[in-house]
Amino acid sequence: MTSFSKPALDIRNLRTEFRIGGRWYPAVRNLSVSLMPNETLAVVGESGSGKSVTALSILRLLPSAGARIDSGEILFDGRNLAMLSEREMSAIRGNSIAMIFQEPMTSLNPTMTIGEQIAEAIIIHRGGRHSEALAEALRLLKEVKIGSPESRLHDYPHQFSGGMRQRVMIAMALACHPKILLADEPTTALDVTIQAQVLKQLDELKQAYGMSVLFITHNLGVVAQIADRVAVMYAGEIVELASVEALFAKPMHPYTAALLGAMPRADRASESLEPIPGGAPTLTTMPPGCAYAPRCSFKQRSCSELRPELLACGDPGHLVRCSVRLTGGMR
């Protein structure tokens, strides 16, 4: 399991669909990506690009009505998660794959003390006595650096600030020492200072626990801070996959380049910010060719006809879904 060649999570050709007006439309298409042990893979994209749907597909938490995994494999620990029964999934959720959410204010049960909530996850997956689980909860609160954890163990969620609650959520997610942590915009709702603390802490915990992290965000600044590799998503598909250095130094896909151009930076005047014209296509109005073509400044006639594949472009491990770029046509 610990060998470098074997991914901790391997997603192959995932296609997740939503039903709109009686027809099924893909929200995630042809998504293939692997998460290596101890790796932080950032998934970047705008709202509606399929980032969260990907994470929810992995844990099979999509609403039972109106959403389905149409095809593809999600390989974890030698099993295809897409094919497991609900009971088998329950044993994996929170145990070997955990998830933290964007909104810490509402992600905790308001009627339970946080100690009970953390202990609950431990008892369910690991069994054992209630007192032992509470002791472990206390240890976890210390680990995520909650001040005076002994007394806070018995506090209710509304007695915590947003940043503290997100730490509690992280403690809950870590309770069973998961191999994989899915973090769905965990810092988006937090202040910038708190955000930096939580990011640092996540990184330390990742090292300590030997986890792989799938980090979903729309904030490229956060990506630079935390990720090893980056997958850029647009309209339900990965348009570029690269190491974080390669992506920032040499973005290949026009969309990635545009995203970086739209990111505020301290070393440039704000006039140089370039918004991307137009908007992302909706599920029901997906263009037949390249999904980004209508907004792309390098568009050629073939782009709106043929859907490009995600292919290697020179550097090892740098994949891009752009036929113009791959044939060297963009200058």
């Binding site: 009505a65 329950s90 955990a98 509402t106 905790l108 339970m112 609950e120 369910i124 959520m169």
Partner: protein
Amino acid sequence: MAPTISLSLSRPGGVWLAFSKNPLFWVGLVLLAAIVLIAVFAPLIAPYDPLEQNIVARLEPPSAEFLLGTDIYGRDVLSRLIYGGRISLLVGFVAILIAMTIGCTIGIIAGYVDDLFDQLVMGLLDVMLSFPTLLLGLMIAAMLGASLENLVIAIAITEIAPFARVARAPTIALKQQDFVVAGRALGFGPIRIMGVHILPNLISDVVVMSSLWMASAIRTEASLSFIGLGVPPPTPTWGSMIREGFENILDAWWLAVFPSLAILLTVLALNLLGDALRDAIDPKLRGE
């Protein structure tokens, strides 16, 4: 502030403060406590045996010897009233407990699973809701026959539907909440989610409901006993006492008036309590 569905249980202090300032809450509480205590300690308080007949003292008006008079068999009305409270309160309490348990279970499951089961069960309960409580209770009681147990069952069945409705609506809202999705992401099964994460968040709504519906249950008990479908004689209940008194209302007004008053006070106390609880638990009405 986070838009939490209910703050009640996580903030007992705030709720307590809110209704301790409400004078109607205290009126309701004292009244109900008095009624319950009298019923519980009936053997100590009642001056006579409620079943003991005394032919010599038939239809005595209220006097120093018989504070609330005597009935057609010479039984002491005050003693019968005190013992009758036991039945009325017991029927109301047990029936509501049963209705609440079954109704909540159905409502939460229906709200959580949202498919054919939901539509089927809620449709069925809507049919039940469309009957007036008394009519439905009358049909069930007539079908089962007159006894204490059957009375409780009949009243419980009539009040399952409103409890299911009250539990289902917040369940639908709660299951979309992040902490329920987060719970699923931690591997909690549906039974645990419904029992540990959804139920405590809606129980306050249900408890408020139950105090109001208990008043209704006591009224239904009285009505069913009045038309002879309640507890068979000679056991005193408020409803059956009113019926007996009703037959002699022109000769002996006290026979019907005092049990009616007892029902009135009990229902009033429960409604005052229920209203105060609802106001205290609803943050919008608390006005902070």
